[in-house]
């Protein structure tokens, strides 16, 4: 199996060059920008940040805008709980990202790029800074890249703790020193982004696919994984599995293969109870759904989404209400407050779930959870609120009895420390 994302011995430039590093950029430098975009289109690469938008098409929009300067932003604000794939690229193979950004810059004629790195990854910043220095030293960045006359440099911008900044317009606001709230679209960042300039925001993993595409060619790339959505995908696996960790697998690998084939199955010989396939915003799936191939379309058909690909596995002793409650604590805390349904709705949902978990649930609470979720869904400014609502609806769809049980008799798994404290209070 081809592995190209994390296939290096060490994060240094030497190691990266040995693995074929910067050959993709060399090829890109020999091509007309329009042809690079064509190549990326042919590769069928879809964004790895969660939405799965075709990268080549997004580039075409940005390239089509006559305004200059243009900016490249790498979205390294990996905040989706259950996800640690971008962090691995940043820390273990930073040059693949730098090369990817340089390719994008060549395609879009940008001269400056920013890596928006989440504040919780301070070590990543040091590693990136070191790698950038190496790249500048070897002429992969700077005034005259590889002797081609191309000019491009990258700054690292450290976030400060805001999940919403993973949304590209919120990220741009944040990079401009503002509160990280999403902007109205249109105008889209490809036309009016950072400081009103055409701006290409791509996820770390998306950009990390580019060196391989440029080096091996789109024709090779499309042979990997699902023909409708080719390439490898990083799957971070967490929760109750024997071998949690990060797996680079072709798009379309089934959940079963990921959980049992790669991650060693459920820990301590227990049974699988539930799996969240794409980070906390993706609705939970029951065990009978695990033959689902992990690609954008198939997961959606199951009523969930591929999202970040963060696979969160829960065994049969997991309290789903507790999981739901903690998930909503997260959404409440991370709601930016801009729009009414998300700001008020997430805190309401959290409050109801907190009651249910702490044996204060009432009859009608499940109906209320559904109503509030439906009132949020589809009415919010950005997808964060939708994520919260669909997460709750997902838990209710597959584990309604467990919620009812909580309301009637309390937690069948026994309260944990937290629940005890609340009940005592």
């Amino acid at each position: 199996m081809t592995r190209y994302l994390l296939d290096v011995e060490n994060p240094n430039l030497d190691g990266y060059e040995k693995a074929g590093g910067y050959q993709g950029l060399a090829r890109a430098l020999s091509m007309e920008p329009a042809l690079i975009i064509e190549e990326v289109k042919k590769s069928g690469l879809r964004g790895r940040g969660g939405a799965g938008f075709p990268t080549g098409m997004k580039w075409t929009f940005a390239a089509g805008d006559p305004k200059f300067p243009k900016y490249i932003i790498c979205n390294a604000d990996e905040g989706e709980p259950g996800t640690f794939k971008d962090k691995a690229i940043l820390e273990k193979n930073p040059h693949i990202l730098i090369e990817g950004m340089a390719v994008a810059a060549r395609a879009l004629k940008a001269e400056l790029g920013y890596i928006y790195l989440r504040g919780e990854y301070p070590k990543g910043k040091d590693i990136l800074q070191a790698a950038l220095k190496e790249a500048r030293g070897k002429g992969y960045l700077g005034e005259n890249i590889m002797g081609s006359g191309m000019r491009f440099d990258i700054h690292v911008h450290l976030g400060a703790g805001a999940y919403i900044c993973g949304e590209e317009t919120a990220l741009i606001n944040s990079l401009e020193g503002k509160r990280g709230q999403p902007r109205l679209k249109p105008p889209f960042p490809v036309n009016s982004g950072l400081w009103g300039r055409p701006t290409m925001v791509n996820n770390v993993e998306t950009l990390a696919n580019l060196p391989f595409i440029m080096r091996a060619g789109a024709a090779q790339y499309v042979k990997i994984g699902d023909p409708g959505c080719p390439g490898n995908k990083l799957f971070p696996v967490s929760g109750h599995v024997e071998k949690p960790g990060l797996y680079e697998l072709p798009m379309g690998t089934t959940l079963r293969e990921i959980i049992y084939g790669q991650a060693g199955g459920i820990k301590n010989g227990k049974r699988l109870k539930a799996v969240i396939p794409g980070g906390i915003s993706a609705p939970v799936l029951p065990p009978d759904a695990i033959d689902c191939p992990m690609d954008f379309v198939s997961v959606q058909k199951q009523g969930s989404m591929l999202g970040s690909g963060g696979v969160m596995v829960f065994d049969n002793d997991t309290c789903i209400v507790r999981v739901a409650h903690r998930a909503l604590e997260f959404f409440e805390r991370e709601s930016c407050g801009k729009c009414t349904p998300c700001r008020e709705g997430t805190s309401w949902l959290r409050a109801i779930l907190e009651r249910i978990e702490t044996r204060q649930g009432r009859e009608g609470d499940l109906q209320l959870l559904e109503d509030v979720s439906r009132n949020i869904a589809g009415n919010t400014f950005c997808p964060l609120g939708d994520g919260a609502a669909s997460a709750v609806l997902g838990f209710l769809r597959h584990f309604r009895e467990e919620f009812e049980e909580h309301i009637k008799n309390g937690c069948p798994f026994g309260p944990d420390d937290h629940t005890r404290t609340v009940i005592a209070r």
Binding site: G79, F84, E120, K123, A160, L175, S238, D416, H418
Partner: protein
């Protein structure tokens, strides 16, 4: 060149570097806040005012941005800041128990500082260590695979 006595010389040097990377105005605000937080310990009003003065921004602009992000601290913290992740992946592996231990052992409630001023505890929402949870950041150091025993061992190294 104006004088900014509120900042230490080291912080001022870093601010000068930051200024070079961004266009004038607001864009340098977040990195400047990071520097101010380190320099002042937390973003007390004087720190926010100093940043405002340095970047020539309205004070309220600085405060409004600063309070949006959870990693900027708006009250005094202890010598070490613990950011314990209790999000779902860590939760199901026992993160709440760890929280209880911190509370019992060090008198640490989320958002508060231990009476001896040694630790402050913040609850984190995923620190990208789900594959090796439960996990926490102590200052800039990541600690993973925590359990009741290990969390105490780790924290004993921070005075």
């Amino acid at each position: 060149m104006e004088n900014f006595p509120a900042f230490s010389p080291g912080a001022l040097a870093r601010l000068e570097e930051i200024k070079k990377k961004y266009p004038p105005g607001r864009a340098a605000l977040m990195p400047a806040l990071h520097v101010a937080q380190e320099d002042f310990g937390w973003l007390k009003p004087e720190a926010l005012k100093a940043v405002a003065e340095y970047l020539e921004l309205p004070e309220m602009t600085v405060r409004s941005t600063a309070t949006f992000y959870s990693m900027y601290r708006h009250k005094k913290t202890g010598r070490n800041v613990i950011r314990l992740c209790t999000n779902v992946s860590c939760l199901v592996l026992g993160a709440r128990t760890l929280k209880g231990i911190l509370e019992g052992l060090y008198g640490l409630a989320p958002g508060n500082t231990s009476p001896d001023n040694r630790f402050s505890l913040e609850i984190a929402d995923c620190i990208g260590a789900c594959g090796s949870g439960p996990a926490m950041l102590v200052n800039d150091d990541l600690h993973t695979g925590l359990d009741a025993k290990k969390v105490i061992e780790v924290l004993e190294n921070y005075k």
